[in-house]
Point group: C2
Chain length 177, copies 2
């Protein structure tokens, strides 16, 4: 229903009708339209978590995995914005409203970045530093490549070189000297 | 007029009335309301250029100047968003519309960052790399601390530690090893 009507127009009644149940039945599982919208968006966001998590936990040089992780995230966000504009709009609305779903998504992403940083520190590849703070800094410094507010710019031809330059600078900051 | 009525409601007629001239006189200098709005916003944005330019061109370690420059920019943007919300909204609208004024502002800012990077490379303090590409990467990686779309978050208590962590990581990336 979100895909068909968009976040502003899709209603719980539409959802109930499509399921062949009363809207009361839907409300027994989701206490409001917002809660339902959040649950759908969370599941949609989670689609990428597995492939990203696999990269974060793989073997091999931490720098390569970090770059691979960031590239995979950027590609997934671009794809979602391009092929699934209605669900992307729902996600953008949640992100702007500081919803818990958006916060939880960021939490998971920062956690995976922290895992990569920890493994790089453990192997001596990265300088010793607070892995959690660094994971967050990596997330913040790459906002242009995953924050949905920037989606209108993701098709610009200069986004790929911009991404490569930011990545290189961040990796150089992490590397042990 | 932009301060009093906001970007959506301020009109060329309001401006002409405040100046005691006909609106035709205003149009002789600015061909549209958009052109007038852009000129005002550009002058307003330029207020910070001098102090930032002074930091970019000063003597002393490039790393210190870079940090000082980024701190000064972030403080100026926060102040503008806080004390001048109507002009800030005008600026945000221009930034979102990809106006030439916003592009020119970014151009100037990236130019100053490039100047700092060049001086750090020249003194041997920073690793040799393309100064222009690096200036742009520094701008991109610090978007959360100057892009007007993030203004609603700038009063969050975690913005200062987030800024410090991003800054530290970027400076470590620049430093010669």
């Amino acid at each position: 229903m979100l895909r068909r009507y968009g976040p502003a127009k899709a209603t719980v009644v539409d959802v109930a009708r499509a399921l062949g149940v009363s809207h009361g039945s839907v409300y027994r599982h989701f206490r409001s339209k917002t809660a339902l919208r959040e649950a759908v968006t969370e599941r949609w966001l989670d689609q990428e978590h597995d492939s990203l998590s696999r990269i974060a936990r793989a073997k091999g040089p931490a720098a390569d995995r970090l770059e691979d992780w960031l590239l995979t995230l950027f590609a997934a966000k671009r794809r979602k914005a391009g092929v699934d504009p209605e669900l992307f709009a729902t996600y953008l609305a949640l992100a702007t409203e500081n919803s818990e779903i958006a916060a939880r998504h960021v939490e998971t992403m920062v956690g995976q970045l922290t895992t990569i940083v920890e493994s790089g520190i453990a192997s001596g590849e990265f300088t010793m530093r607070d892995a959690r703070v660094t994971g967050r800094a990596l997330w913040d410094a790459t906002a242009q490549f995953h924050d949905p507010v920037y989606a209108p710019r993701w098709s610009d031809p200069d986004m790929d070189p911009a991404f490569a330059a930011v990545c290189e600078l961040l990796l150089d900051g992490l590397r042990a000297r």
